[in-house]
Assembly symmetry: C2
Homo-oligomer: 425 residues x 2
């Protein structure tokens, strides 16, 4: 491998230069091994955030992160493989009903998920509220479960894109999360190394998402779609609304509960719509164009798959879910239409109740979170319950309620009808 100096590469990017393929390879390999120090990589991350990277550099960065670890290979499976990734939002429990739903059509779903950090929840935290369920399984167990059940949601092993694991933790504490080259390469290195045949990206837009505007979300989505297709993974993207929470329930066990409602053929319309749309997209990329995912939710096929998937990882699908010890309900203060119920405000409130963690080492409260009694756009009457907060520690209510300040607005006329799916790429 060619030899470079970390300082010279940082200065090159600082001065809006382009980093060569060899330079990017060197940087990622030497950051993974510890030759390039955290303080050097964080300066580089800030320079990338402010000065950008072109498509070739992003492709090289993604390839270097994949090369930093192992690659999985599911080509020996009889079934096609498909996966989805969401850039994260408030109340975004879609992975839970979606994975068994798609698997119920004979498409294997190898979903490697993460934990929550900040105001967005993590799929693994949610599933761990199911007694007995294990997030960590070996590659061999994953392969076996995919062959037998066709659906896995588990933690990414430490062997997969270790450079990304290290860089992600660094970005989180250095104010360098919101860089499109870094977000795109982080997501896509793991998905490509995971070996899925196709991939649907759910890129969230709005106050509760990393991308606050449609333009930024579209840019991120396009970069990731290109990265996937260039690497032989059939990739498409939906841009979906994250200005207000998805569904009525936020928090770990609460989101499992709502997912079970959807798998039982019910659940909030927005959660059902996005689940069905993403399933249709995943099935289409796998060559199945005549499927009716909504029917598979209604007739129990998806629920059967869910039960198999949970049981395969030690979970008891019939166990009672954890419930918070304390609850506090907030009432509507006005009569009228709920013109604003801000995703970020609700996400932070839920986080402060104990559903999320402040530091990676922290534990989450499985029962903590928020249940909405009305969604944005609904008509409410002053004094009716607006939302209920749940936590094991009642001293958390005050700070949680403060987070809602300015996040709730009422109006006399109904707001424009909410569109969930904003664009397709």
């Amino acid at each position: 491998m060619a030899d470079f100096s970390a300082v010279e590469l940082i200065i090159a990017k600082r001065e809006r230069g382009e980093l060569s393929t060899d330079a990017i390879d060197w940087l990622i390999a030497n950051y993974t091994s510890g030759v390039v120090a955290d303080e050097q990589m964080s300066a580089m991350a800030m320079a990338i955030l402010l000065n950008g990277m072109n498509r070739r550099e992003i492709r090289d960065l993604t390839a270097a992160m994949i090369r930093s670890g192992e690659r999985l290979d599911f080509s020996s499976l009889a079934a096609p493989t498909a996966d989805k990734h969401s850039t994260g939002g408030v109340g975004d429990k879609i992975t839970l009903p979606l994975v068994p739903l798609v698997a119920s059509f004979g498409v294997a779903v190898p979903q490697l998920s993460g934990r929550g950090l900040g105001h967005t929840g993590g799929t693994l935290d949610k599933l761990e509220s199911i007694p007995g369920w294990r997030a960590s399984i070996s590659n061999a167990e994953m392969h076996k479960q995919l062959a037998e059940v066709g659906a896995v949601i588990c933690a990414a092993g430490s062997g997969l894109a270790p450079a990304d694991r290290k860089l992600y933790a660094l970005r989180d504490v250095t104010g360098t999360v919101e860089a499109i080259p870094l977000i795109a390469s982080s997501i896509m290195s793991k998905k490509i190394a995971e070996g899925t045949g196709s991939l649907v990206l759910d890129v969230k837009v709005g106050s509760g998402a990393f991308m606050k505007t449609l333009d930024r979300a579209r840019e991120l989505a396009q970069v990731m779609v290109d990265l996937g297709n260039d690497s032989g993974v059939k990739t498409s993207a939906l841009l979906t609304d994250m200005s207000t929470p998805l569904g009525l329930k936020m928090g770990n066990a609460l989101e499992v509960e709502e997912s079970l409602e959807v798998l039982a053929g019910g659940g909030p319309a927005d959660v059902v719509e996005i689940t069905v749309e993403l399933a249709r997209e995943m099935l289409k990329l796998s060559g199945i164009t005549d499927a009716d995912p909504a029917a598979a939710l209604r007739d129990g096929r998806a629920m059967d798959k869910w039960r198999q998937m949970i049981a395969a990882q030690g979970g008891d699908p019939d166990a009672k879910l954890p419930v918070a010890r304390e609850s506090h309900t907030i009432l509507a203060t006005q009569t009228g239409h709920l013109t604003k119920l801000d995703a970020l405000a609700v996400g932070i409130a839920s986080w402060r109740l104990g559903a999320g963690r402040a530091r990676k080492e922290d534990a989450v409260q499985f029962g903590a979170g928020i249940q909405l009694h009305a969604q944005q756009g609904d008509r409410v009457v002053a004094g009716q319950p607006l939302l209920t907060m749940f936590t094991d520690e009642p001293e958390r209510f005050e700070r949680a309620e403060q987070a809602l300040d300015g996040g709730i607005e009422y109006g006399n006329s109904a707001p424009q009808e909410r569109r969930i799916i904003l664009e397709r790429l």
Copy 2:
């Protein structure tokens, strides 16, 4: 002290925001104590480099760095105090003759110096080539020497602006040296904490300097002059040429040698000119307007002060200086005028010969360096000696010579006469 989050402050500066006085105080205090991590500070430094700071922020940053440590106080001395600071260049040994020269007029000079890093030399490294000389002395010893001799060149104690010490080391390895707010606050926090009554800044401009253009150098100088005067230190600045080396000798013992030539009334004209001009400026700020520094060089008064100053710190002014074991002379390849003899190229060659260090832990070779036989603008004849390289390790010659590639040019007509002093502020 108000409480802040490092990540939120980094993001604020990343988004071109202004940091409040309280935020800057918090950041520097908590970086010094280790609560704010190196990787956070380097991301902040890159954000400052790329997005800038306004005058108020720079003033607050400087004040916070001063407050991170102790302040010296020379107000009990009978003599006025004056100091100078150079932003660093190639062959810049001016501090060596300048400090005793100014002291010979009864102005006390408390010069806290640093070591070389990269292609620019360090005053302490140069003086340490004098057998017995000690760079580290206590504050009490410094005070006593200033009262008795009137001249001190020594290492800054660890108590002075410890935030700057930590930040400077970090910037060096993270590509964040060349930021005007960081350079200005680093220099001025130490000079203000040092307690000098007046200060002359020698801001270098050109290939061998941090500031490559006159505009950037003027901006840096103006920021520093304002910082000094706002803090009660009478401060002025000269912008001086660093497109080609100062004098004929580069390297530690070699620069002491050339300084002794100047102190003996001889030496290269450019070194003498800048030494005399800076001395005149320092004396003027101390209220002495009728001095003739050139005469004090010629008649031995400055040399007498040098000998006292060196002896006071254990050095033997009569000791033979270290000499490199190997030398290699490069000949002029053309007849004509030397139209370019690039400061950066010569600086890097000298560094590679062993005069400088690659990492802070490295030792320098006292005898290593370069002696020029002609300066930029001189007429040379093909085959005449152009420069001689010195090192203890002959395997270094090849890489040193490579550094000169493109740094030397010949022409038929004499270039414009070189101006050393470009501007005064």
